[in-house]
């Protein structure tokens, strides 16, 4: 018995769904739009939290260069 290979259809992109005639969209298309946008939101929230938690560059620069005592002693040697 021959088996036909599974041909995985290329998933429809979000842009294609937005460009399509909305009257032709299926409930599964709408669900996909919502799911994709939620995924994008979750990704953005993670990235934004990382960005917010990083110390600001200006604060780091204003602390100036901090010398270690060994640095000072070695420069005197």
């Amino acid at each position: 018995m021959s088996t036909s290979p599974l041909i995985e259809a290329e998933p429809t992109s979000l842009a294609e769904l937005f460009d399509a005639d909305p009257l032709t969209l299926k409930p599964t298309d709408i669900q996909m739009i919502v799911a994709e946008l939620r995924r994008a939101r979750a990704k953005w929230i993670t990235e934004d939290q990382i960005k917010q938690s990083k110390p600001k560059k200006k604060e780091k620069e204003s602390r100036g260069v901090q010398l270690d005592i060994d640095d000072i002693l070695s420069s005197l040697a």
Binding site: L14, A15, F18, D21, P22, L23, L25, P27, I30, Q31, I33, V34, L37, R38, A40, R41, W44, D48
Partner: protein, 312 residues
């Protein structure tokens, strides 16, 4: 109140039905009011921003209606997205290069749908619940008209009109909820512009009169729109009864001013407001020699009527 003419029968330059948009224009600059409300000029391309705002509000309204009709959150989100995609079928959006250089499409169909979905995710477990009116309908997109005990010299009563996005109950208290979009970062400073504020005071005042249960304040759900994200924040503005009395007293005096301008067929420029909010759209017109102003208006503007009496 079936008459849809917001102007006096006796003087077509004298407005009798006012909303926060037209009142705000008069307060900012009578000349700007004249151009926008009396001559119906709007900057070309402004339509896109108006359309985006309308679709954003309509999408969220669709969600509110759907939930009030018993739909689950998921069903209501999908309904809102579907309805918005259909309603915004021909919405092209703009990258608006003049105001957002190299920033891409902030107002497009994609960012519109994203703003709606992300808003509904952000407020998924919203403690503010939509009020259900006595007629069983959810209190969303409520248009109101109220006749005030303020008359012009022709004996015509002044009418105050408006459009409330949503009425909610939060912590047992009623609030007007208004949704706004902005390109700016939302901070506590953002909310300072709403107190005092013409529109917020009008809503707060009207809610004392037209609603079965007066609202104690106005909740503002602000959406910061950017190319790659939409960020949300909620603020609450409250005003005392005395503040609202003050507002009404001021409103009455502005009506007298409007009548003076209309009687004289002259609406003076407020040349201290020309630089507000990035510059008035009519600045070049007002800066030009009087004789060429009509040419500038015809070239750079288009006609769009704003009627406070038309329900959205």
């Amino acid at each position: 109140m079936s008459n849809k003419n917001p102007f006096s029968r006796e003087n077509p330059l004298l407005q009798t039905a006012w909303d926060s948009t037209s009142l705000g224009l008069l307060k900012t600059c009578p000349r700007k009011y004249q151009y926008k409300m009396l001559e119906n000029w709007s900057k070309k391309g402004e339509n896109v921003h108006l359309a985006f705002g309308i679709h954003y509000h309509s999408g969220l309204e669709a969600y509110d209606h759907s939930r009030a009709n018993g739909a689950t959150h998921e069903e209501a989100v999908e309904f809102a997205v579907n309805k918005t995609l259909i309603a915004a079928k021909d919405f092209i959006g703009t990258s608006d290069p003049e105001t957002l250089p190299d920033k891409g499409d902030i107002k497009s169909k994609a960012t519109l749908i994203r703003a709606i979905v992300w808003y509904l995710e952000h407020f998924r477990n919203d403690p503010a619940e939509t009020v259900i009116l006595d007629n069983g309908k959810p209190a969303v997109e409520l248009s109101f008209k109220m006749e005030l005990p303020i008359e012009n010299s022709f004996g015509e009563n002044i009418i105050l009109c408006g459009h409330i996005d949503r009425l909610v109950k939060l912590g047992g208290l009623i609030y007007v909820l208004d949704r706004k979009t902005t390109g700016s970062t939302i901070s506590s400073k953002y909310y300072e512009q709403y107190n005092p504020n013409n529109q917020i005071s009008l809503y707060a005042f009207a809610s004392q009169v037209v609603l079965p249960e007066p609202a104690v304040g106005v909740i503002i759900d602000a959406c910061q729109l950017a190319v790659n994200f939409a960020r949300f924040h909620r603020g609450i503005i409250t005003q005392t009864a005395k503040q609202l009395d003050d507002w009404l007293n001021d409103f009455s005096m502005y009506m007298q001013l409007a009548e003076t301008y209309a009687e004289n067929n002259h609406f003076p420029m407020n040349d201290t407001a020309c630089s507000n909010y990035g510059g008035c759209e009519f600045r070049k017109v007002c800066a030009a020699e009087c004789s060429i102003r009509p040419l500038l208006l015809n070239n750079d503007f288009e006609k769009r009527v704003w009627n406070p009496l038309i329900e959205r």
